[in-house]
């Protein structure tokens, strides 16, 4: 994973509560087995009308927001399904961070795992940034090391799990970190009772 350090770029405002993963990427695009290429399907039903024409009013269809790398949205962003395709689509579209008053738990974990930075600020702070984002000329700087968000005169700080911060700053592979403890996993497995569920067991009945 590429390290996440300082993110500098244009903000796109999407001031809605409870943006769910079905909106971020609808189900018909989850059939692909590839890891990349989900960007064109981002917010599909909001970006296009029923005839497939791009809606020019939708913020991400506006040419003056084509450079946006930071999405500013409402509370409970990423609610709903566990589909990692949602952060993949945001990442593929060029987003590096999302700022919102709160995130759904699984979505936030998924973002952490791919190096897309979810930043939690207060309602008032997000409201302030949403207003700033209304001018596409305004930029924001998110510094993970100092846990700060700066946009013009606006400054705010945010919390992040220290373990996640360390992993993101250094671009570390979570699986490799866990595999360093393979001995401890093996020790745990030796103590696991034999009656615990296992597909290796012979089923006691046909069904």
């Amino acid at each position: 994973m590429r390290p996440v350090t300082v993110i500098r770029g244009q903000m796109a405002p999407l001031p809605r509560a409870n943006v769910d993963t079905d909106q971020i990427i609808p189900k018909q695009f989850l059939k692909r087995v590839e890891r990349s290429g989900f960007g064109p399907f981002l917010f599909w039903d909001w970006a296009q009308d029923a005839e497939g024409e791009l809606d020019p009013r939708f913020i991400l269809n506006r040419h003056d927001y084509a450079r946006a790398t930071v999405l500013v949205s409402g509370p409970n962003f990423g609610s709903g399904s566990s589909r990692e395709h949602a952060p993949w689509a945001l990442e593929d579209r060029g987003f590096l961070a999302i700022i919102a008053p709160s995130f759904a738990d699984i979505f936030r974990d998924n973002c952490h795992n791919i190096g897309l930075l979810p930043v939690v600020l207060t309602n008032d702070e997000v409201g302030h940034l949403t207003n700033l984002a209304a001018d596409p000329a305004n930029e924001v700087v998110i510094d993970l090391a100092s846990q700060t968000v700066v946009a013009g005169d606006f400054t705010a700080s945010f919390d992040i799990d220290p373990a996640v911060k360390h992993r993101l700053l250094n671009g570390l592979d979570a699986i490799a970190l866990t595999l360093r403890h393979a001995d401890e996993i093996a020790d745990f497995e030796h103590t696991r009772p034999g009656w615990k569920p296992s597909l290796a067991a012979v089923p006691s009945t046909g069904y």
């Binding site: 018909q28 399904s81 566990s82 990692e84 795992n113 373990a163 403890h181 996993i185 569920p197 006691s204």
Partner: protein, 473 residues
């Protein structure tokens, strides 16, 4: 004076958590062992591919079970899978399982079905275990007192490679409901009522334990319905303490312990309850008598109201974001504030999903429609949760009841809950659905979903509009 060392009282959640810690880091992260990893075709292909690219193997295929549920057709299966993308995705899972030694319940296996139906059915979902799956409704398995939660594809890869997950301990919440449920109030209504009360993210960051006489008296199927929708309140997981009802459900299931192992397991399972004096980070208490049959009116599951009420006025919401969300929801749902819920007509009735496609759900709906006909102009379908649920329902004659009433009787799968297979709503269609999400476009672009219980859905099929079950006969 003799000092007796006392163990610190712990919640059910804490006991399961503590029993699965492989190691703890100074930064507060715990490495948790995963007892059972359930895999399906949609959220696994990229995990298998990444694993292969990194030269890693599946660490515990014996603790992994795969099924095919999201993309399968539920009718005309003899034609095969006609959607080329779904076909490729399903073939990819079959190949990945064959290559890595993971057991797969293939489409023609009667044990196949929705991932959250088959785990319990096979006796693999057991009290005190940790269960993960690349699917947010994994919380279903919490009905057995298992710590079960949904994960993303990177975490699927992590579990395949290590059988563990690094996790920060969530907070705990208790939702206690005592008393007697009013007539017509089902487990689905209980969880819809809870979500309406605590909100769409009211359980965010928490594991919910459902406590009180209502849950103690509930069947396993009902408990699964409740725990299933924990995620619709934003919770990491939902839990109900195992008891005699749990043990009776598990006894004799294919992968449940047998003989002495059964006795040892039950002895352990009996310790899995919240100790007196243990504390929760948040507590919610609801009186059973306050619950009613519910219908969702909006585009998230907390936008839900009693069937006796009217569509709410967005102006009645204090929070401007809630008001805006209500306005957007009413526009999308094509509903006017003040409309009685029982005046809302339906075009489609969907009885299915990991929330409500088990045998009891089918029985409850069949009891309503027996001897009656689906209303003119309404399309109604039953999609059993698994091949085994379908077989059992056919043994009980439920298929005849549904078919004679004008329902379609389908094969098992996720189907119209999310419409990844051919079962979708057409634009503008309104659906009474026993599923779990009423998001915009969830069941098909511009389709309108109302979440209800199986009995409420069945009654809506017969009348062509929602009815108050408490008065309907």
């Amino acid at each position: 004076m003799l000092v007796v060392p006392m163990e610190t009282p712990r919640t059910l959640f804490e006991k399961i958590w503590d029993d699965h810690i492989v190691r703890s880091d100074d930064d507060g992260t715990a490495l948790l062992f995963v007892d059972l990893h359930l895999v399906h075709e949609v959220t696994s292909p990229q995990a298998f591919e990444a694993l292969q690219i990194a030269g890693r193997s599946v660490h515990r295929p014996d603790l992994t079970l795969a099924t095919i549920d999201h993309g399968v057709p539920t009718a005309n299966r003899e034609l095969g899978i006609l959607d080329p993308l779904s076909k490729k995705q399903i073939d990819t899972l079959i190949a990945n399982c064959a290559r890595t030694g993971i057991e797969l319940f293939d489409i023609d296996d009667p044990r196949s079905g929705i991932v959250h139906v088959i785990g319990p059915e096979q006796g693999l979902t057991q009290p005190g275990t940790t269960i993960v799956c690349g699917d947010s409704h994994t919380a279903t398995h919490g009905a057995f007192g298992a710590l079960a939660f949904g994960i993303g594809t990177s975490q699927v890869e992590h579990v395949l490679a290590t059988q563990t997950l690094p996790q920060r301990k969530p907070k705990s919440m208790s939702v206690t409901i005592d008393g007697r449920l009013p007539n017509g109030v089902t487990p689905k209504d209980v969880i819809l009522g809870i979500i309406a009360r605590i909100g769409f993210n009211g359980g965010g960051g928490h594991v919910i334990e459902y406590r009180g006489s209502v849950f103690e008296e509930m069947s396993m199927e009902g408990r699964m319905t409740v725990c299933n929708m924990s995620i619709e309140a934003g919770a990491r997981a939902g839990l109900i303490a195992p008891d005699e009802t749990t043990f009776a459900y598990l006894l004799g299931r294919p992968y449940a312990p047998t003989g002495n192992d059964w006795d040892t397991a039950v002895e352990y399972w009996r310790t899995l309850h919240t100790d007196t004096g243990a504390s929760f980070d948040a507590q919610v208490v609801i009186d059973a008598a306050d619950l009613a049959p519910y219908v969702s009116w909006g585009t998230n599951p907390s936008q839900t109201i009693r069937v006796t009420e009217t569509v709410p006025d967005p102006a009645s919401f204090d929070d401007p974001l809630d008001r805006d969300a209500a306005e957007r929801a009413l526009a999308y749902m094509d509903l006017e504030a003040g409309t009685p819920i029982t005046d809302i007509g339906v075009d489609v009735v969907f009885l299915g999903s990991c929330t409500n496609a088990r045998i009891e759900d089918l029985r409850a709906a069949a009891a309503i429609v027996a001897g009656r006909q689906v209303a003119d102009g309404v399309r109604a379908l039953v999609v059993p949760g698994s091949g085994l649920v379908k077989l059992q329902a056919e043994e009980e004659g439920l298929d005849r009841i549904f078919l004679d009433s004008g329902f379609e009787w389908r094969d098992a799968g996720c189907s119209m809950c999310l419409g990844m297979n051919p079962d979708i709503l057409q634009p503008g269609e309104r659906c009474a659905s026993t599923s779990n999400r009423n998001f915009e476009g969830r069941q098909g672009r511009d389709g309108r979903t109302h979440l209800v219980s199986p009995a409420m859905a069945a009654a809506a099929a017969v009348e062509g509009h929602f009815v108050n079950l408490q008065e309907w006969s």
